[in-house]
Amino acid sequence: MGGQPATTYEHWVRTLRDWSVDDSVSLTGLPPLTEESLPAGAYERLINHIRQALETTAAGWVSALSKTLASIGDPAALAVDLVALRRKLSRRLELARHPALPQVLRDAFSDAVDRSVRDAQQQIETAIKNLGRDGHTPASVVDELHRVTRENSFVAVLAYTADTPGGRFTPNYRSTDPAGPDHPVPERPRVRRIIV
């Protein structure tokens, strides 16, 4: 389907369809959605489309998580996987917390994503615990895997913020404007003073 979308409904549906299968598609520019902005049936169908898009994204993510869980062993490789999974996970926040959604939907979708993120974190921690119990993996490696899952926790994604309204959710990196008010005093060479 080509050309400019004619209606709010069409705009949403077409974007959601593309977004759920293509990571590069952005959700910026979606028109605000209210119950009154669409006929009752169309509104319900659109909510289903949104739910569907979230589920498709979640399914892709769960599949990636399963691959990670199946090959847990190298802590460094796990850390890299977890960060990549966090990046993918943040896409669900883009839609669940989209400013064009009505507040009530935003809350409902956000809660669902929140629960699923915490469940996933729990799932991976349990998988590592089980790995420790089976006796095949050295305790030091299991400890390292635990450290890695804590350091790269999925839950951190919930603190991500959108870079633009409706845009990508990224870690909350702070600005490094040297003129900013919160800048600490630069470190100076330290010379020790002895306490007399």
Binding site: A76, N152, R174, T176, I194
Partner: protein, 514 residues
């Protein structure tokens, strides 16, 4: 290896050249970080970020935190986003593990280096270990050496001057130089810790220089293969005029600042001689005389059971000795470790080669005192002219030295001054005795006194001397060979003399008084 200022120049060139991966190898990450900070200060048009596991990612010069998360992959993710967003960004990574072989972390860094290259960015890695070749070949590497004399002097000067107003400090420039020399071989942080601990006594005076060595020892105390030998104040050397004169001519070279001269510090001596004649004690006496710490290289601890292990451990031990400089390094019975022969898979040959290379090439103020009894088993290449500064032969004690030793041991063990007449007879009876023989016979007399509750009569004392068969008789053949070898190939440790007739003993030897 480069010192700090050379490394800084090199780093600036790499940054200006926009090398995508710059590796600084060092065991002092904070010193390397300070150096990178200096470079960033000179290149203010570029932005530098620094990651550490404890503090996350922050802007290097301002210290402003950009991400609290300490996770390395998160930091790399941030670097990825910054590299994609802008050109000329720089990221410094310090405590990175598992990059010395082809691991997932090393491959991840390699990908990041390639991204940095495409975005004119630079990744600076500060690491103690060498990088995996596939990674290091993407950039340039430098090894930051331990602080040199000048850097230590600057650091010590800062510390001393900062505290001069608060503490009684009598150190002047020459004391700072001496302190820097004593502390050479330690990291900048260790040097600061040592000096600050010394200053925490409440003052800083000339006497504290000695304390620096003591603290430095504690740092190296548990290193494999090197053992600190405690010295006593009362070592006194009698005889050995040639050796003493030779040593006195070189003493200053071990403490002087030779930086801007073409003079090298002395490398060491080989003391060859009869067992029990005090060669080992000479090492202690030299260290005591030169006021330097004495370390014993324990070759038994160095020799390992696996292929390549001995070589690795010897290298580590010799590197440690260099870090302990200035010092005296004593290798007792060197022939036992570096025996030339087959049947060990070539380990001995490799150890000899490694040892000789070190002996010839090292520039640290490490004075080697090696002792050997069985010179015939020493590899000839070790004895070639120029390996040691000099080879000295220590012979059996002559009559005068035997007299000194007898008097000394009678006083020490029996608290008895031997009457002159008896002393003369004992000296005659002990012809051909080694120092150890004399000690052994007087130990027997001490036992006899303990058992009977009285000092044995003169006749009994003489009988003890007569009954002892000295080393020169039990091992006459070995002694003959050693002496024949030593007197033709070595400088006599005592006053030079002509060749020996059969059964003749040499004069002018040394005595180490305990």
């Amino acid at each position: 290896m480069s010192n700090r200022s050379e490394s800084l120049v090199w780093l600036l060139r790499c940054l200006k050249a926009r090398v995508p991966l710059i590796t600084i190898r060092t065991i002092e990450p904070s010193r390397a970080r300070d150096m990178v900070r200096d470079a960033a200060g000179e290149l203010r048009a570029l932005t530098f970020y620094e990651h550490s596991r404890t503090e996350g990612t922050r802007e290097l010069l301002s210290g402003q935190v950009t991400s609290d998360e300490g996770s390395l992959p998160v930091a790399l993710e941030y670097a990825r986003s910054v590299f994609k967003a802008r050109e000329n960004a720089n990221f410094v990574f310090t405590d990175v593990e598992d990059v010395d072989s082809e691991t997932s972390t090393a491959r991840h860094f390699a990908e990041m280096a390639r991204l940095a290259e495409s975005r004119v960015g630079s990744i600076i890695m500060i690491t103690a270990k060498p990088l995996w070749t596939g990674l290091s070949r993407l950039g340039m590497n430098v090894s930051l050496d331990l602080p040199d004399q000048k850097e230590l002097e600057d650091e010590i000067t800062d510390l001393v001057e900062t505290n001069r107003g608060y503490l009684p400090v009598s150190w002047e420039r020459q004391h700072v130089r001496q302190a820097a020399e004593i502390l050479s071989g330690v990291t900048l942080l260790e040097a600061t810790n040592i000096l600050a601990t010394v200053m925490a006594s409440g003052e800083l005076n000339e006497g504290h220089l000695k304390e620096l060595s003591h603290f430095k020892d504690q740092i190296f105390g548990d290193l494999n293969g090197i053992e600190r030998v405690p010295l006593r104040e009362d070592y006194k050397v009698g005889g050995l005029n040639s050796l003493k004169e030779w040593l006195s001519r070189r003493r200053n070279l071990m403490s002087a600042d030779l930086t801007h001269t073409t003079v090298s510090p002395p490398r060491g001596v080989l003391l060859v001689g009869v067992s029990g004649c005090g060669k080992s004690l000479s090492a202690k006496a030299i260290a005591q005389e030169w006021q330097l710490p004495l370390y014993r290289l324990d070759m038994a601890a160095v020799l390992g059971m696996y292929v390549g292990q001995s070589e690795g451990q010897l290298r580590e031990a010799l590197e440690t000795a260099e870090r302990m400089a200035p010092c005296v390094l004593w290798v007792d019975e060197i022939e036992k470790a570096l025996v030339s022969g087959a049947g060990d898979g070539g380990t001995s040959r490799r150890l000899v080669g490694q040892f000789l290379y070190w002996l010839q090439e090292h520039t640290a103020k490490v004075f080697l005192v090696a002792t050997a009894n069985d010179v015939t088993s020493l590899p000839p290449e070790l004895l070639r002219k120029g390996r040691f500064d000099e080879m000295f032969f220590v012979d059996l004690p002559d009559a005068h030295d035997r007299e000194e030793i007898v008097v000394m041991y009678f006083r020490k063990r029996l608290e008895y001054d031997v009457p002159p007449d008896l002393l003369r007879q004992l000296v005659d009876l002990s012809e051909g005795f080694t120092g150890s023989d004399l000690e052994a016979v007087i130990r027997d007399i001490t036992l006899a006194k303990y058992n009977s509750g009285r000092l044995p009569a003169d006749a009994e004392i003489k009988l003890h001397f007569t009954n002892l068969v000295p080393f020169s008789k039990t091992n006459a053949e070995e002694l003959g060979l050693t002496r024949a070898w030593g007197l033709t190939r070595c400088v006599p440790a005592g006053t030079p003399r002509g060749p020996l007739a059969e059964g003749e003993t040499s004069g002018n030897r040394r005595v180490v008084l305990l």
